[in-house]
């Protein structure tokens, strides 16, 4: 946890002065009077321009999204994967094995994984610790993936667990002592003293971004000194992390089954906002477009070979943060090379849960806009009728 530690002047605005019986202006009662409310803040306006055309100039290769199995999604359910609130490692191992064999059609775990990776690859496992300990990519799934990669002949030294913020990785238990021999890396970093800056006053994060690869959008990021370490840079450029552009040769994407408002934050969101700097500016006007477009650039498009959604524990509201009352046990994994198809199936599951819980009557009208954009960019298939979903029930 970080930030500044000083007294904060309130700076609040008084819209009106209350007249009360005792002359006091402040009360603890929830309701005291009726009056007009503060003017609303601006809603999203016209869509800003981006450099997406630059991404489309790069030729695709054999690994490019949607990968080896366009439109294919394997769902594995296991009703016993969580017992006494604890995720069961053995059950997760079984679920992952079933997912990999079903998706690839192979008879062995080794052959299944070797469809995607080789011992020469440096493999990045993109986890999602942003919501903290309550709702991170589970260690059971990460350990199952690592064990199967080892079975496939991948040495531990060739595996990198990564995300945008190294400190969040550490806070959620992605530590060297828990993952011996494996590299753990984040774009935004602090040193042992808790500083984001090196002795020259330079952000550690600056050394982690690759200025040759960027997503430009006509939206300006402007941050105070406390926010900048989390954004690395302001302005209209978001730079890709060197973890993607230089460090790893393949990426296995491990998001969590979470909602984002009426939509979801799964494969594409985990990749896009996890891989670049200066994201704060994109949320309001470009959420749907940027989630898809950032994944259309080669450092992501051509390296992500597999997506495995951790749906053991997820949430159906309050996401992407972890609001305990909305956290639930989905008891499932989703696997596929096509991030758009996997996200479409994930959105179906989350929307259904929201309907069951009476949060909404039908899928939110704008929930799938990012899928539509991703499909336009050739990243995968977002149409339910064209997705080949296979479901396996293990218990």
């Amino acid at each position: 946890m970080s930030g500044k530690n000083e007294n904060h002047p309130s700076g609040r605005r008084n819209f009106f002065k209350l007249l009360t019986a005792g002359g006091a202006g402040f009360v603890l009662s929830p309701i005291v009077a009726s009056a007009p409310v503060e003017a609303a803040e601006k809603m999203p306006q016209a869509k800003p321009a981006t450099n997406i055309q630059d991404a489309l100039k790069f030729p695709r290769n054999a690994n490019s999204m949607p990968g080896l199995f366009p439109g294919a999604v394997t769902r594995v359910n296991h009703s016993g994967c969580i017992q006494d609130k604890a995720i069961q490692q053995k059950a997760v191992d079984q679920m992952l094995t079933a997912a990999m064999l079903n998706l690839t059609g192979k008879k062995s775990v080794k052959k299944a994984w070797r469809k995607f990776v080789s011992p020469d690859d440096i493999i990045g496992l993109k986890v999602n610790p942003v919501a903290g300990k309550l709702l991170t990519t589970s260690h059971e799934l990460v350990k199952a993936v690592i064990a199967q990669l080892e079975t496939a002949g991948i040495p531990r030294k060739n595996i990198v667990i990564w995300d945008r913020r190294e400190m969040e990785l550490h806070e959620t238990g992605f530590l060297p002592e828990n993952y011996p021999g494996i590299t753990i890396s984040g774009t935004e970093q602090k040193d042992a003293k808790g500083s984001f800056f090196d002795t020259n006053g330079k952000l550690y994060g600056e050394g982690m971004i690759d200025k040759e690869w960027f997503y430009w959008a006509d939206v300006e990021g402007s941050y105070d000194e406390y926010t900048m370490p989390y954004m690395v840079n302001g302005g209209k450029h978001s730079y890709y992390t060197k973890i993607c552009t230089k460090q790893v040769t393949k990426i296995i994407n491990l998001p969590i089954l979470k909602n984002a408002g009426g939509s979801v934050t799964l494969c594409l969101k985990n990749l896009s906002y996890g891989a670049i700097s200066n994201t704060g500016r994109l949320h309001e006007k470009l959420w749907h477009d940027s989630v898809a477009e950032i994944c259309a650039f080669p450092p992501i498009r051509d390296k992500v070979v597999l997506n495995i959604v951790d749906g053991l524990i997820g949430c159906y509201n309050g996401g992407p943060a972890a609001n305990p009352q909305f956290i639930c046990q989905y008891n499932l994994l989703l696997a596929g090379t096509d991030p758009v198809a996997v996200d479409r199936i994930g959105l179906n599951i989350v929307s259904q849960k929201r309907i069951e819980m009476k949060l909404q009557k039908e899928e939110a009208p704008a929930a799938s806009l990012f899928l539509k954009r991703a499909e336009e960019l050739g990243l995968g298939i977002g149409d339910n009728s064209r997705i080949n979903l296979k479901t396996i029930d293990l218990a």
Binding site: S29, P30, E38, G261
Partner: protein, 271 residues
């Protein structure tokens, strides 16, 4: 018709406890056995550093400051998040869309929601969340004690302001009343109405839902920023002009009655 300033409730609580320097939230000496393990402060856009994309919802409601404390109390690990918002409606708005199916509500003498893993509370400009890690009775009890202490030290401020000609005749607001002022609030708090606000730039929506004779009764008070926004809303809802307002077409499942009560303000009743 003008909006009036009409008092709905005027319930004052005396404030007898001494106040602490509030930027600290809790300190180790305020409860026996309390230990602050970690503390973080965020204001302005630095909220991105704490919850990244989740912060945009708080910005929509007028975020001012967050204090986070991870504490150990009665051998339980608890996380306190204290959000100070720019207005009481902003604080209530965040509270109203973050609370859901409360096991107990409005128990602490103010607007609050208790669940197995979390207690949430709204008062003045404050939105508070206390999360326990295990959900056990002992953890819930520790959370409740901590929340009571926090309630004592929260600075008293003006209460929630409801618009004229609208509003519940009760202080039991949790789970019934929502305040929404933007797209993200709609997505999180009232997603089924998102479509009605397409093309609407600015609005303030109060939404009150109860049940009468087993049937839903919904009332909304909506103030738009411009006549164009009001027109867009009416277009999206497919309402037809009727007398001094609008109503839903024959045969629709929900019966809407809408009246214009201000220049760009309407009152909606849905049965």
């Amino acid at each position: 018709m003008r909006n009036y300033l009409i008092p709905v409730f005027l319930i004052l609580f005396s404030i007898s406890q001494p106040r602490t320097a509030f930027s600290q939230l809790l300190t180790n000496d305020q409860l026996p056995g309390l230990k602050i393990e970690k503390e973080g402060h965020y204001d302005g856009t630095s909220l991105y550093g704490y919850i990244d994309g989740g912060s945009t919802l708080y910005f929509e409601y007028g975020f001012e400051r967050l204090v986070v404390q991870e504490v150990t109390f009665q051998n339980e690990k608890l996380t306190i998040e204290y959000y100070r918002m720019k207005s009481s409606v902003g604080a209530f708005g965040i509270y109203s869309i973050n609370t859901f199916q409360c096991q107990a509500a409005d128990q602490f003498g103010m607007t609050d929601c208790e669940n197995q893993y979390q207690i949430q509370l709204f008062t003045g400009h404050h939105y508070l969340s206390v999360v326990n890690a295990t959900g056990t009775p002992a953890a819930q009890n520790a959370s409740a004690l901590l929340t009571r202490k926090l309630k004592e030290i929260l600075p008293a401020e003006e209460g929630l302001i409801l618009p004229a000609q609208f509003g519940p005749s009760t202080n039991q607001l949790t789970g019934k009343l929502k305040f929404i002022r933007g797209e993200l609030g709609l997505q999180n708090g009232l997603p089924d109405w998102s479509g009605y606000f397409e093309g609407v730039k600015n609005f303030n929506l109060w939404f009150w839902q109860t049940q009468t004779d087993g049937k839903d009764f919904r009332q909304a008070h909506i103030t738009f920023d411009s006549p164009g926004d009001l027109d867009n809303f009416l277009h999206n809802t497919s309402l037809i002009a009727s007398g001094d307002g609008w109503t839903s077409k024959e045969g629709q499942a929900d019966k809407w009655v809408v009246k214009k009560i201000g220049e760009n303000t309407i009152l909606v009743v849905v049965r």
